[in-house]
Symmetry: C2
Amino acid sequence: MLVRDTESVPSQTMTMPGAVGVTMKLLVGRADGAPTFAMRQFTVEPTGHTPLHQHNYEHEVLIVEGAGVLHTSADGSGDKAIKAGDALLIPANQLHQFHNVSGAPLKFVCLVPVKFDCGGGECKPTPGS
Amino acid sequence: MLVRDTESVPSQTMTMPGAVGVTMKLLVGRADGAPTFAMRQFTVEPTGHTPLHQHNYEHEVLIVEGAGVLHTSADGSGDKAIKAGDALLIPANQLHQFHNVSGAPLKFVCLVPVKFDCGGGECKPTPGS
Protein backbone atom coordinates (compact mmCIF):
# COMPACT_ATOMS: atom_id res chain seq x y z
CA MET A 1 0.00 0.00 0.00
CA LEU A 2 1.87 3.02 -1.27
CA VAL A 3 1.08 6.62 -0.26
CA ARG A 4 3.62 8.97 -1.85
CA ASP A 5 3.67 12.75 -1.52
CA THR A 6 4.43 14.13 -4.98
CA GLU A 7 6.49 16.86 -3.31
CA SER A 8 8.89 14.16 -2.09
CA VAL A 9 9.56 12.77 -5.58
CA PRO A 10 12.65 14.08 -7.38
CA SER A 11 12.11 15.85 -10.71
CA GLN A 12 13.88 14.60 -13.80
CA THR A 13 14.53 16.99 -16.67
CA MET A 14 13.22 15.59 -19.93
CA THR A 15 16.12 15.49 -22.36
CA MET A 16 14.49 13.87 -25.36
CA PRO A 17 14.67 15.96 -28.55
CA GLY A 18 11.83 18.46 -28.76
CA ALA A 19 11.30 18.77 -25.01
CA VAL A 20 11.82 22.30 -23.69
CA GLY A 21 11.25 23.30 -20.07
CA VAL A 22 9.75 19.94 -19.08
CA THR A 23 10.34 17.98 -15.91
CA MET A 24 8.88 14.65 -14.89
CA LYS A 25 8.20 12.85 -11.61
CA LEU A 26 7.50 9.15 -11.68
CA LEU A 27 4.70 8.81 -9.12
CA VAL A 28 3.82 5.12 -9.50
CA GLY A 29 5.72 2.73 -11.74
CA ARG A 30 7.17 -0.69 -12.31
CA ALA A 31 9.57 -0.42 -9.38
CA ASP A 32 6.54 -0.02 -7.11
CA GLY A 33 4.97 -3.20 -8.45
CA ALA A 34 2.37 -1.42 -10.59
CA PRO A 35 1.03 -4.27 -12.74
CA THR A 36 -0.88 -2.51 -15.51
CA PHE A 37 -0.17 1.21 -15.84
CA ALA A 38 2.23 3.87 -14.61
CA MET A 39 1.50 7.38 -13.34
CA ARG A 40 3.88 10.22 -14.11
CA GLN A 41 3.52 13.92 -13.36
CA PHE A 42 4.87 16.45 -15.84
CA THR A 43 5.49 20.16 -15.34
CA VAL A 44 5.91 22.39 -18.39
CA GLU A 45 7.30 25.84 -17.70
CA PRO A 46 5.84 28.91 -19.45
CA THR A 47 6.70 28.83 -23.20
CA GLY A 48 7.90 25.21 -22.79
CA HIS A 49 6.61 22.14 -24.57
CA THR A 50 6.86 18.40 -24.84
CA PRO A 51 8.00 16.88 -28.14
CA LEU A 52 5.54 16.68 -31.01
CA HIS A 53 5.58 12.92 -31.30
CA GLN A 54 3.56 9.75 -31.49
CA HIS A 55 3.99 6.17 -30.29
CA ASN A 56 2.17 2.89 -30.29
CA TYR A 57 0.47 3.24 -26.90
CA GLU A 58 -2.07 5.58 -25.41
CA HIS A 59 -1.88 8.36 -22.83
CA GLU A 60 -4.54 9.19 -20.30
CA VAL A 61 -3.99 12.64 -18.85
CA LEU A 62 -5.49 14.81 -16.15
CA ILE A 63 -4.55 18.48 -16.22
CA VAL A 64 -3.83 19.32 -12.59
CA GLU A 65 -2.76 22.96 -12.77
CA GLY A 66 -2.49 25.72 -15.36
CA ALA A 67 -3.51 25.84 -18.99
CA GLY A 68 -2.05 25.37 -22.45
CA VAL A 69 -2.58 24.01 -25.92
CA LEU A 70 -2.56 20.43 -27.09
CA HIS A 71 -1.12 20.35 -30.60
CA THR A 72 -2.11 17.37 -32.71
CA SER A 73 -0.29 18.26 -35.93
CA ALA A 74 2.76 20.17 -37.10
CA ASP A 75 0.68 22.88 -38.78
CA GLY A 76 -1.51 23.68 -35.77
CA SER A 77 -4.66 22.24 -37.28
CA GLY A 78 -6.59 20.40 -34.62
CA ASP A 79 -5.15 22.43 -31.73
CA LYS A 80 -7.17 22.05 -28.54
CA ALA A 81 -7.13 24.34 -25.52
CA ILE A 82 -6.49 22.48 -22.26
CA LYS A 83 -6.91 23.61 -18.66
CA ALA A 84 -6.92 22.32 -15.11
CA GLY A 85 -9.67 19.74 -14.68
CA ASP A 86 -9.58 18.42 -18.24
CA ALA A 87 -9.24 14.67 -18.80
CA LEU A 88 -7.62 13.53 -22.04
CA LEU A 89 -7.33 10.31 -23.97
CA ILE A 90 -4.60 10.37 -26.60
CA PRO A 91 -4.95 7.17 -28.60
CA ALA A 92 -1.94 5.21 -29.84
CA ASN A 93 -0.22 6.51 -32.97
CA GLN A 94 -1.69 10.02 -32.77
CA LEU A 95 0.61 13.05 -32.86
CA HIS A 96 0.52 15.15 -29.70
CA GLN A 97 2.42 17.94 -28.02
CA PHE A 98 1.70 19.81 -24.80
CA HIS A 99 2.55 23.50 -25.12
CA ASN A 100 2.40 25.95 -22.26
CA VAL A 101 1.34 29.26 -23.76
CA SER A 102 0.43 30.74 -20.36
CA GLY A 103 2.49 32.63 -17.83
CA ALA A 104 2.32 29.95 -15.13
CA PRO A 105 3.41 26.31 -14.93
CA LEU A 106 1.31 23.67 -16.67
CA LYS A 107 1.13 20.51 -14.59
CA PHE A 108 -0.50 17.24 -15.55
CA VAL A 109 -0.45 13.55 -14.72
CA CYS A 110 0.02 11.27 -17.69
CA LEU A 111 -0.58 7.53 -17.44
CA VAL A 112 0.76 4.88 -19.78
CA PRO A 113 0.68 1.08 -19.94
CA VAL A 114 3.35 0.05 -17.46
CA LYS A 115 5.62 -1.58 -20.02
CA PHE A 116 6.14 1.88 -21.51
CA ASP A 117 6.92 3.51 -18.16
CA CYS A 118 10.21 4.86 -19.40
CA GLY A 119 10.91 7.97 -17.37
CA GLY A 120 12.20 11.14 -18.99
CA GLY A 121 14.14 9.55 -21.82
CA GLU A 122 13.20 7.76 -24.96
CA CYS A 123 10.33 5.37 -24.48
CA LYS A 124 11.26 1.76 -24.89
CA PRO A 125 9.25 -1.19 -23.70
CA THR A 126 10.56 -3.34 -20.91
CA PRO A 127 13.02 -5.88 -22.35
CA GLY A 128 11.10 -9.01 -23.12
CA SER A 129 7.69 -7.36 -23.00
CA MET B 1 -8.27 12.63 -29.28
CA LEU B 2 -10.51 13.30 -26.33
CA VAL B 3 -10.42 16.48 -24.21
CA ARG B 4 -13.19 16.35 -21.60
CA ASP B 5 -13.89 19.00 -18.98
CA THR B 6 -14.60 17.14 -15.74
CA GLU B 7 -17.22 19.80 -14.94
CA SER B 8 -19.21 18.59 -17.95
CA VAL B 9 -19.37 14.97 -16.76
CA PRO B 10 -22.49 13.95 -14.83
CA SER B 11 -22.01 12.66 -11.29
CA GLN B 12 -23.32 9.23 -10.36
CA THR B 13 -24.11 8.49 -6.73
CA MET B 14 -22.34 5.35 -5.55
CA THR B 15 -24.98 2.98 -4.27
CA MET B 16 -22.88 -0.04 -3.39
CA PRO B 17 -23.16 -1.14 0.26
CA GLY B 18 -20.79 0.78 2.50
CA ALA B 19 -20.59 3.87 0.31
CA VAL B 20 -21.78 7.03 2.08
CA GLY B 21 -21.67 10.49 0.50
CA VAL B 22 -19.73 9.34 -2.55
CA THR B 23 -20.21 10.38 -6.16
CA MET B 24 -18.30 9.28 -9.22
CA LYS B 25 -17.59 10.72 -12.65
CA LEU B 26 -16.29 8.42 -15.35
CA LEU B 27 -13.67 10.60 -17.05
CA VAL B 28 -12.16 8.10 -19.52
CA GLY B 29 -13.45 4.59 -20.00
CA ARG B 30 -14.28 1.73 -22.32
CA ALA B 31 -16.90 3.72 -24.21
CA ASP B 32 -14.16 6.19 -25.17
CA GLY B 33 -11.99 3.41 -26.56
CA ALA B 34 -9.57 3.36 -23.62
CA PRO B 35 -7.62 0.16 -24.27
CA THR B 36 -5.81 -0.49 -20.99
CA PHE B 37 -7.11 1.51 -18.03
CA ALA B 38 -10.00 3.73 -17.00
CA MET B 39 -9.96 7.05 -15.13
CA ARG B 40 -12.71 7.88 -12.66
CA GLN B 41 -13.03 10.86 -10.35
CA PHE B 42 -14.59 10.36 -6.92
CA THR B 43 -15.85 13.00 -4.51
CA VAL B 44 -16.39 12.06 -0.87
CA GLU B 45 -18.39 14.55 1.17
CA PRO B 46 -17.34 15.43 4.74
CA THR B 47 -17.87 12.39 7.06
CA GLY B 48 -18.49 10.20 3.99
CA HIS B 49 -16.56 7.13 2.95
CA THR B 50 -16.18 4.50 0.27
CA PRO B 51 -16.79 0.86 1.20
CA LEU B 52 -14.12 -1.03 3.12
CA HIS B 53 -13.49 -3.63 0.47
CA GLN B 54 -10.98 -5.46 -1.65
CA HIS B 55 -10.89 -6.92 -5.14
CA ASN B 56 -8.55 -8.70 -7.50
CA TYR B 57 -7.22 -5.63 -9.31
CA GLU B 58 -5.22 -2.61 -8.33
CA HIS B 59 -6.07 1.06 -7.93
CA GLU B 60 -3.79 3.96 -8.75
CA VAL B 61 -5.02 7.14 -7.15
CA LEU B 62 -4.11 10.82 -7.17
CA ILE B 63 -5.63 12.94 -4.43
CA VAL B 64 -6.77 16.09 -6.22
CA GLU B 65 -8.41 18.09 -3.45
CA GLY B 66 -8.94 17.85 0.30
CA ALA B 67 -7.68 15.37 2.84
CA GLY B 68 -8.77 12.22 4.63
CA VAL B 69 -7.75 8.83 5.91
CA LEU B 70 -7.08 5.66 3.99
CA HIS B 71 -8.22 2.74 6.11
CA THR B 72 -6.58 -0.59 5.32
CA SER B 73 -8.27 -2.74 7.96
CA ALA B 74 -11.50 -2.92 9.94
CA ASP B 75 -9.77 -2.09 13.22
CA GLY B 76 -7.98 1.03 12.02
CA SER B 77 -4.53 -0.49 12.16
CA GLY B 78 -2.53 0.65 9.17
CA ASP B 79 -4.51 3.87 8.72
CA LYS B 80 -2.71 6.37 6.51
CA ALA B 81 -3.36 10.11 6.25
CA ILE B 82 -3.92 11.26 2.67
CA LYS B 83 -3.97 14.77 1.22
CA ALA B 84 -4.03 16.61 -2.08
CA GLY B 85 -0.93 15.76 -4.10
CA ASP B 86 -0.53 12.22 -2.77
CA ALA B 87 -0.19 9.35 -5.25
CA LEU B 88 -1.35 5.92 -4.11
CA LEU B 89 -0.94 2.36 -5.31
CA ILE B 90 -3.44 -0.03 -3.75
CA PRO B 91 -2.43 -3.52 -4.82
CA ALA B 92 -4.95 -6.20 -5.72
CA ASN B 93 -6.61 -8.01 -2.81
CA GLN B 94 -5.77 -5.37 -0.20
CA LEU B 95 -8.53 -3.91 1.95
CA HIS B 96 -9.03 -0.18 1.47
CA GLN B 97 -11.50 2.55 2.33
CA PHE B 98 -11.34 6.29 1.70
CA HIS B 99 -12.76 8.25 4.61
CA ASN B 100 -13.24 12.00 4.62
CA VAL B 101 -12.63 13.15 8.17
CA SER B 102 -12.24 16.79 7.12
CA GLY B 103 -14.80 19.55 6.73
CA ALA B 104 -14.38 19.92 2.98
CA PRO B 105 -14.86 17.58 0.02
CA LEU B 106 -12.23 14.93 -0.68
CA LYS B 107 -11.68 14.52 -4.40
CA PHE B 108 -9.46 11.97 -6.11
CA VAL B 109 -8.95 10.26 -9.42
CA CYS B 110 -8.81 6.48 -9.25
CA LEU B 111 -7.62 4.39 -12.17
CA VAL B 112 -8.31 0.72 -12.75
CA PRO B 113 -7.61 -1.81 -15.50
CA VAL B 114 -10.24 -1.05 -18.12
CA LYS B 115 -12.02 -4.39 -17.83
CA PHE B 116 -12.97 -3.38 -14.29
CA ASP B 117 -14.28 0.04 -15.32
CA CYS B 118 -17.63 -0.56 -13.77
CA GLY B 119 -18.98 2.81 -12.76
CA GLY B 120 -20.63 3.34 -9.41
CA GLY B 121 -22.05 -0.12 -8.90
CA GLU B 122 -20.58 -3.47 -8.12
CA CYS B 123 -17.41 -4.15 -10.02
CA LYS B 124 -17.69 -6.93 -12.50
CA PRO B 125 -15.34 -7.57 -15.39
CA THR B 126 -16.53 -7.04 -18.92
CA PRO B 127 -18.40 -10.15 -20.10
CA GLY B 128 -15.91 -12.35 -21.84
CA SER B 129 -12.86 -10.64 -20.39
